[in-house]
Symmetry: C2
């Protein structure tokens, strides 16, 4: 209803500043990837991590996305963080505040040492600080995990922020207007049922992703 929610038609909200794009990407770990299956688009949620000028995705070699990459399918990847619900005086101006990145590209399958290094980056990307605590992947795990890199060369960011922008004639109408803030809350870590007693929660989990 608000024009701000139709973010794909608001080029003035766009940003190609790499710092902005990197910050949005580094703030999350879940993306939605679209690829072609025959001539149809298919979207799936999957994890990602930014690695310099590219993002890394991983999955089973048999997964839809990895098979699509092997066929040379173009990819479109979206990452969106919701920051608030914009409660405007009209339905039309009601909307959300958000930060999003959309990337277009193709996937390049990694192998050898590059594949191995990327897997470490993926662990550390999801759970910063974790890499030092986990054992290296086994040969079987390496075989079962394909990794692709997608360049950020064709990436754009869109950000919508601020209070409702109501029409002048709607002001003073006696209807409450404002923002409901939306945030992601990371709770206190919960130990696995099979965890041996006496192990302390690592520091990097008690302050999870709160940089």
């Amino acid at each position: 209803m608000s024009e701000k929610t139709q973010i794909h038609r608001h080029p003035e909200l766009g940003s190609e500043d790499r710092g902005v794009i990197d910050a949005i990407l580094d703030n999350g770990f879940l993306c939605h990837v679209a690829y072609l299956r025959d001539t149809r688009p298919v979207v799936i949620p999957t994890l990602y991590v930014r690695d310099g000028d590219r993002i890394l995705l991983h999955g089973s070699p048999a997964s839809g996305i990895m098979r699509a990459v092997k066929r040379g399918s173009p990819l479109s990847i979206g990452v969106t963080h919701v920051d608030g619900v914009v409660v405007a005086r009209s339905g039309f101006e009601s909307s959300i505040n958000y930060r999003s990145v959309v990337i277009h590209g193709v996937g390049r399958a990694l192998d050898g040492p590059e594949h191995r290094t990327a897997l470490d980056r993926i662990v550390e990307g999801l759970i910063p600080g974790r890499l030092a605590d986990v054992r290296p992947p086994t040969p079987k795990e390496l075989r079962k995990t394909s990794v692709i890199a997608v360049s950020l060369a064709d990436a754009s960011a869109k950000i919508s922020d601020g209070p409702p922008e109501d029409e002048a004639e709607d002001l003073g109408s006696g209807v409450w207007a404002g923002i409901v803030p939306v945030t992601i809350a990371y709770g206190s870590p919960v130990a696995a049922p099979d965890l041996e007693p006496g192990l302390e929660i690592p520091d990097y989990l008690t302050r999870f992703r709160s940089s």
Copy 2:
């Protein structure tokens, strides 16, 4: 990188139960829609609301998605809620817990009374309780807002839940394992700077989406 994160290759996690699908959809308002532009997939974030056996999307008639629908483009729509970060003893089993729905279909443009009713549903879907407080859309706003319906006939849900599932040989390795819970937090509403004094925050915003 746990197998559980590669949710597209885990049919055993799948659910076609409509109650499950509806509950996941009703828990959110942001989706990622993939459509075809020429022969490439394009993914964009946009708002949605479930309306019975279909979901409704809206946007400018000039938006990429509305033009794609007019061309008859197939759509793929993903909705994902992250419930936790699975901190396993190995990188391979580390992952996220999530609930997701993927819908495949085509968009049908709504017009006339159906279009008008859908806009009300969209307002109420984003901000439950709001419809009674906002004025009706103007003719200009109606013209500027296309609405499409996509059937839930081809929708599937995937859910990953529970503690890490480490290999037997990784248990007792002295490495902490468990879950970091992830939730969406809706904060206290913040009044618009141009709000007239003395207006109280409506009840439906102080308990926003906490049904």
